[in-house]
Each structure stands twice: as structure tokens, then as C-alpha cells.
Assembly symmetry: C2
Homo-oligomer: 263 residues x 2
DNA sequence: AGAAGCTCTTTCACATTATGAAATGATAAA
DNA sequence: TTTATCATTTCATAATGTGAAAGAGCTTCT
């Protein structure tokens, strides 16, 4: 009886509604909201409670979802397996690995590979020259587009309509340096395309600077971003040109491996 | 109840057939078979080609599946994100992390946490004292039950019927030392339960020895296995008692953190 | 070049499968 | 106790998913 405007609409793929809905349920989970009750999640994805319950039960029986002692839902172990498999099977990651290692060694900093995933940037691989232990902890993590060098870069190369859509949305300040003014951000995006690289200075973490460059595939589309970053103390203004140069060589080499041919 | 001669039957969860089928498609991908053509995978999971095509298209539109230039299917980047999220959200991993670090430090070897996933053991976390770089590469990897210390241990604590079912299946030799005789393996499983730990000596990798111990949850069920392992050269017979002792303390501490109370 | 064979993709009539309102359990708060 | 909230099950309904068949590309053989 209450068919209001639309709190959240699931784009259902024709002939696979149940599958699209099940995936929407999985995607409701993230680092900020790792656990849901049935009522919460069914409200969130705007599905009937019975339907939600049935879909989650199916996902649980396959190990993609797990339940607490309290009956709350979490992502299941089977997803760790699928994620690891997806990671190892990624052609992009395979092509980038050796180049990331070189870049990390050359600069002495951390080299990262990221792709665009919905409204965030997704870390595909990470190599650090310093911090050898405890790395790869961030693989699979999602970060906001407007507060990262890679995110701004990946956004900058998208079609105008998509950029507009993002600038409409709420730009939350992660640090005091995060750019939250749409006009300022848009100006930066134009600059990024003009220069071919992006910089983020304390916009995600205070005292952390990163630069990012685009990776192209054989179809000359930007499919990923490479970045190098480290503490602002080490990434001095004098060092930046050298770092950007190494970064751009890396980005070009990865693109080459993906079949990109400049012309 | 299931005849091996049948091609492959998907256990469809009532009221979510399409979801179960879509998940079966995802699970068809593993390290050994990371890429499928439509014809291959539809034969493998025993689904109509049109149905398979539609389900894969739905998965692709959500980023869980990706396609090659050749049109072949692979797991998609979105799964890396979900996998990372599942990993960071795992209560088990959270409870085990500090203990694994202690164990790795104490022994100077590699400590691993694994759970049972279908017919394999799944690596949830890994901490190495030696090899600091390039670790965590194995997180999400699946290994055969009969060729690993953790696998044998996890199997040993399962109900008899399940053990029988596994021993029926093909036990493939990964190395010359892999146990492929069902009777020998069964005897080992009994011994494992009696002693409370498992050993694998060159059964997965030649020259690599590992020992594993069970992790219990609040319900006194074995939910995971911890192991320590290293080159046979370092894991001498004299050192083994000391290593097993450390391992068992670790396993008990993790269990304690999960709410297990001995009695 | 044309035919034959292959795989991928789309269509469409049909009914199986998924849906959600409502009823029922189960638990917690008043 | 009653009241409220959340999880689970049921079941009539039709919308969704299904698969045979035909179409569209592309490769290989004659």
C-alpha cells in the first residue's frame, strides 16, 4: 500500500532478479557496516523481509554469508576464497606486479594498484619497500574517490555525466585537507587530465602524500590507476618530479603489458 | 544418495534456485581453472547454455564476473572487494591474529589459520617470521584435505559419515609422500584425534613439514586449524616437541578468545 | 568461395520458481 | 502479565526464470 518514491532501487538484470537482489545484499556489507540484522538489511536494500530472509539463507548455505551467535549476518569465509581466487586470476594484477615492485624499490615507498568500483576505488595490489610485514592488509579495501590520488584520477577520466553525478553527491571530509567543494574538485580533475597525473596531499590521511597515474588497456581506456605514496616528510617538493617520472614510466609499462599501443 | 556417475547436480536452495545456480557458477572458478568459455562452464555445472549466459551476464553487470577480450569469463574485481571485506570482518581471524604473530615469532616459522571449505581447507590468515615480504599471497587459497596437516586435522574431527565420504573420493598424490591409501589415512585421522595434533611431512611440498592443532568455538566445535610449518631442515625431530607445545598453547588461546571454556 | 561447424546471443511461449502479505514463533522490553 | 520487535514459515498468486529453437558471428575445412 505504500509505494513511495524510492529509498533505494536495485537495478535488477532482466531474467535474474533474484541474483541481482542477492548481490545487492552482499554489497550492503562493508568495513563500516560489517554486520546486519535481518530487519536492518531488508530495510536498507528495500526488500521484503521474507524475501531477504530466503536469499540470505541461500547465501548462507553456500558459505557466502555467515551468522553470529546473535543471529546477525556477516560475510562468509567462502568469499575469502573467491576473493583470493579473483585476485590471483586478475590479468591486470599479473601485468602490474613486477612493475609495482620496481616502482616501490626505485622510490623506497609504497606502490598501489587500484580500479574503480562503483563509487569507490578498490585496492587490487600493493607493494611496499619499507613496511614489509603487515602489507597486503589493504587489498580489497575501498576508498572514497574524492580523497585519494587514484580516486581523483580514475574519476577525472570518466565521462562528464558521471563526474557531474559524483560531484552532486555528498563529499565528506576525511581530514581537514579533503576537498569538499565541487568547483575546486572539478578544477582539479581538469588539471589531472591535462597533466596526466594526480596528487593527494593529506586528503585521506594527514601527513600522507600520494601521486597517481593512469593505466590504459588495449582499447585505450583507463582501466586502473597506479600510485606511489609515503609520509609528507619523505615526499618533499624537490623529490616530487623524480617520483612522478618513475610513476609515469611504471604506468606506461603496465599499459604496454595490457596491449596498449601509443599512437 | 548421490551417484558419482551423474554429471553434477546443483543443490538448489528452495525458493532461490537462480541464486544457488549463480553461486555454483562462481565456485566453478579456482586457481587451476581461472578462465572458462560459456560452453565449458555450462557443461561443467550442467545448466542450459541460455540460462548460464543470462546468469553470467547478471554477475558481470555487478562486477563479480569479468570478460576477456576473447569473451572468456573470469572472476571480477568486485569479488576482491567482497573477499577483503569478509577477511577483515572475520571474528575468527581477528581472534587469531595476535596469537599467530606470537607463534610465528616464538618458532621463527610461518603460522597459518585455516577453515574447512567444502572439500578443501581454506587459508584465512598467515603470518611469517622469515619471509616477511610476499606473504598473505596465499590468503584465500584452497588446499587438498589429505595432503596438509590442517586438512587432515579438520577432517579428523568431522563426523564419521563425512570422513567415509572423503576417503571414497580420489586421493591424488601431490608429492611422492602424499598419503593416497584410504586405510593409512584413516589410521592417521584416528591418531590425530587421540594426540590432538596433526603432522604433514612433505605431503604437499617436498621438504616442507607442518604441524596443526584444532581451534574450538564456544559450542565446543572445531571451527578452524592453526599450523606452523617450515623447511624440513629447520623442523628437526628434536625441535618438534617444542614446536607442538607452542602450537597447542596458541590453539588453546585462540579457542579461549572465541568463548571456548574447557571442562 | 561456399559449406559445415563451432560458440555466443537473443527470442519467446510456458510453468516453475520467486514473491510478499499475513500468520506464527521466539525474545526482549515495559 | 502485556506489548513490542524481530525472525521464521506458510501459501496463494503471478511474475520471474527457464530452455528449445532460431539467429548471428566467426573459424575451419573442402
Amino acid at each position: 500500500m505504500s509505494s513511495e518514491s524510492e529509498p533505494q532501487t536495485i537495478e535488477t538484470y532482466p531474467g535474474a532478479q533474484a541474483v541481482s537482489r542477492a548481490i545487492a545484499l552482499l554489497k550492503a556489507f562493508d568495513d563500516a557496516h560489517a554486520e546486519w540484522s535481518l530487519a536492518e538489511i531488508s530495510d536498507y536494500v528495500n526488500l521484503n523481509r521474507a524475501t531477504t530472509h530466503r536469499l540470505l539463507a541461500a547465501l548462507e548455505s553456500e558459505g557466502l554469508i555467515q551468522r553470529n551467535t546473535t543471529g546477525h549476518y556477516r560475510l562468509g569465509h567462502e568469499l575469502i576464497g573467491l576473493g583470493g581466487c579473483a585476485m590471483r586470476a586478475s590479468e591486470l594484477r599479473e601485468a602490474a606486479r613486477p612493475e609495482l615492485e620496481t616502482l616501490a624499490r626505485e622510490t623506497g615507498e609504497t606502490a598501489v594498484l587500484e580500479v574503480l568500483a562503483k563509487r569507490h576505488t578498490l585496492i587490487i595490489d600493493e607493494v611496499s619497500d619499507r613496511d614489509p610485514l603487515g602489507i597486503s592488509q589493504d587489498i580489497g579495501a575501498r576508498l572514497p574517490l574524492h580523497a585519494t590520488s587514484t580516486g581523483k584520477l580514475l574519476l577525472a577520466y570518466r565521462p562528464a555525466a558521471e563526474i557531474d553525478e559524483h560531484l552532486q553527491g555528498a563529499l565528506t571530509a576525511v581530514t581537514p585537507h579533503t576537498i569538499i567543494d565541487p568547483a575546486t574538485l572539478r578544477a582539479q580533475l581538469d588539471e589531472i587530465v591535462a597533466r596526466g597525473y594526480a596528487v593527494a596531499d593529506g586528503e585521506l590521511d594527514v601527513g600522507f602524500i600520494a601521486v597517481a597515474a593512469p593505466v590504459y588497456d588495449a582499447g585505450r581506456t583507463v582501466v586502473a590507476a597506479v600510485s606511489v605514496g609515503g609520509p609528507a616528510l619523505r615526499i618533499s617538493p624537490e623529490r616530487q618530479p623524480e617520483i612522478v617520472a618513475s610513476l609515469q614510466v611504471t604506468a606506461r609499462r603496465i599499459s604496454r603489458r595490457l596491449g596498449y599501443r601509443p599512437g
